[in-house]
């Protein structure tokens, strides 16, 4: 296949969209939910994760993920992007420049790690976070992305994940849960949003960026790309309205944060399925995503008392897994030829998804546990009690989000 200019234009723009999802969308979405005394730290955690993982991607991440290697991990043939020219076509998508494919996928690796930060806000040592980013990207994200997207063993089994329900949302959600358990609860384990309007802007920018995330994952300016972006937006709308409705019924108040959270739950849940389901599937996924994530955030978290501070597991982890499972039911042959259970495709696809979810889940939990445990013993994961109480903006960064003049 020849280089296709329209596809390159689309993916180039999509790359910028996905960058926007981390910087600033995710950073300010999280910062608005953080207590005012630590909101800058939250922003910095997201942005630094993005930066560190992007550099790893160029050094060895891309190579480990997308070079041939074996079923478990790629090899080092692209170490430091060795031997790749800007005009080369990408082996994984020959219609695109190799550079562009690497660039686009870099933003995915980076946001996968940055997402976890939401579970650790207001209490994590900064240097430990950087070490976790390096170790987790290397030992969790690169291998899992290779299994599913890089020609590894799960892709050979037929497990589908259009834009990262398993590779990104499940892994970061479970990594966040394990990390939150090892970090322990904050002294004041309450969500006291410093600025819900900031979170509203973050929600909108994430939604916008998701056009590049899910639409761009078609890797071409194709009907599938348009369909993926369209169903993504539908799932976001439905997710937001359903979540708000649930709160209205359950707590008598339709909250703004419920609306924002539902939108993100819809977006996360549709992600793995976005290139395979039709509009009806998108609506259904929006509904189920909101229902299940709402249960995880409101009931599961309260029942087990883990301090997944900004609900990275409850929204992204749970949403990613539910979406991958629903793909097995709802994949419509009209979109990409894949038939789910409801279209008479039998249980084959569902089984492949289930294996993917379970294996990625176990692998992520075990490796994340080891990473957080080792970093805890080596550097300590938490700041001192006093620093936590005073706020991380002042104690780690020597700044304040809002400075009074006198």
């Amino acid at each position: 296949m020849k280089i296709v200019t329209a596809d390159n234009v689309f993916i180039f723009v999509s790359t910028a969209f996905v960058l926007l999802m981390s910087i600033p969308a995710l950073a300010i979405f999280y910062a608005g939910l953080t207590k005012v005394k630590s909101m800058l730290n939250t922003i910095v955690m997201v942005m630094v994760a993005f930066g560190v993982v992007s550099l790893l991607w160029l050094m060895y991440g891309y190579s480990l993920t997308f070079s041939e290697g074996n079923g478990f991990i790629g090899d080092l043939s692209y170490l430091f992007l060795h031997g790749i020219l800007p005009s080369d076509p990408a082996p994984a998508a020959p219609n695109l420049y190799h550079y562009l494919f690497i660039f686009f996928q870099m933003t995915f690796a980076a946001i996968a790690v940055a997402l976890m930060a939401g579970a650790f806000v207001e209490r994590m040592k900064f240097v430990s976070w950087i070490v976790v980013c390096i170790a987790w990207a290397t030992l969790v994200y690169f291998p899992v992305a290779h299994w599913i997207w890089g020609g590894g063993w799960l892709s050979q089994l037929g497990t589908l994940d259009f834009a990262g329900g398993l590779t990104i949302h499940e892994t970061s959600g479970l990594g966040a849960l394990v990390g939150a358990l090892l970090l322990g609860r904050r002294k004041d384990a309450m969500m006291l949003p410093s600025s819900l309007p900031l979170t509203a802007i973050g929600t909108g920018l994430l939604w916008f960026g998701w056009f590049g995330f899910n639409g761009g994952s078609a890797l071409a300016m194709s009907a599938q790309a348009v369909s993926a972006a369209f169903v993504t937006t539908i799932a976001a709308i439905v997710g937001g309205l359903v979540w708000m409705g649930l709160e209205w019924i359950k707590f008598k108040k339709p909250t703004s944060l419920g609306l924002f959270t539902g939108i993100i739950a819809g977006l996360a849940t549709i992600t793995p399925a976005s290139g395979f389901v039709d509009i009806g599937g998108g609506i259904l996924i929006g509904i189920v995503g909101a229902l299940v994530c709402f249960w995880a955030v409101v009931y599961l978290k309260n029942r087990f008392k883990y301090d997944d501070s900004l609900d990275v597991f409850g929204v992204h982890g749970v949403g990613g897994m539910v979406g991958a499972l629903m793909l097995g039911f709802l994949a419509s042959p009209d979109i990409a030829g894949t038939k789910g259970v409801l279209y008479g495709g039998g249980f084959g696809q569902l089984w492949s998804e289930l294996v993917g979810i379970v294996v990625v889940g176990f692998y992520t939990v075990i490796v994340s546990y080891v990473i957080f445990k080792v970093v805890d013993l080596w550097l300590g994961l938490r700041v001192s009690k006093d620093d936590e109480q005073e706020g991380l903006d002042e104690t780690i960064h020597g700044e304040k989000a809002y400075v009074k003049e006198y």
Partner: protein
């Protein structure tokens, strides 16, 4: 001279200010404060988790007036700040020993 400190609901500040101007009180100091009395706190809900806010935002208005005008001022504030619901606030009256206008050096009632 007496100082009148009124802790009121924030949204009643404009009414109180107008009521005081109507009876010729020309200056006041206003501070945003937090506190609670019989009303206690209230609760907020974030993702289904209830957060109890102990201290409620109030506004404290301070006015210093000649002793013979105290009743009139207290009455004006009471009328203007009352909603009849719990949490309307309180008024405290206390003695003031001395007042100095910094610009001119005038003292006491001349300085009010």
């Amino acid at each position: 001279m007496k100082k009148i400190e009124a802790v009121i609901k924030p949204f009643k500040l404009d009414d109180v200010k107008e009521a005081l101007s109507e009876i010729g009180i020309t200056g006041m100091t206003v501070t945003e404060v937090k506190g609670y009395g019989r009303q206690q706190g209230h609760s907020e809900l974030y993702r289904g988790a209830e957060y109890v806010v102990d201290f409620l935002p109030k506004v404290k208005v301070e006015v210093v007036v000649p002793a013979d005008r105290v009743d009139e001022v207290v009455e004006a504030i009471t009328q203007a700040a009352r909603t009849g619901k719990i949490g309307d606030g309180k008024i405290f009256v206390m003695d003031v020993e001395k007042v100095v206008r910094i610009r001119t050096g005038e003292e006491d009632e001349e300085a009010l």
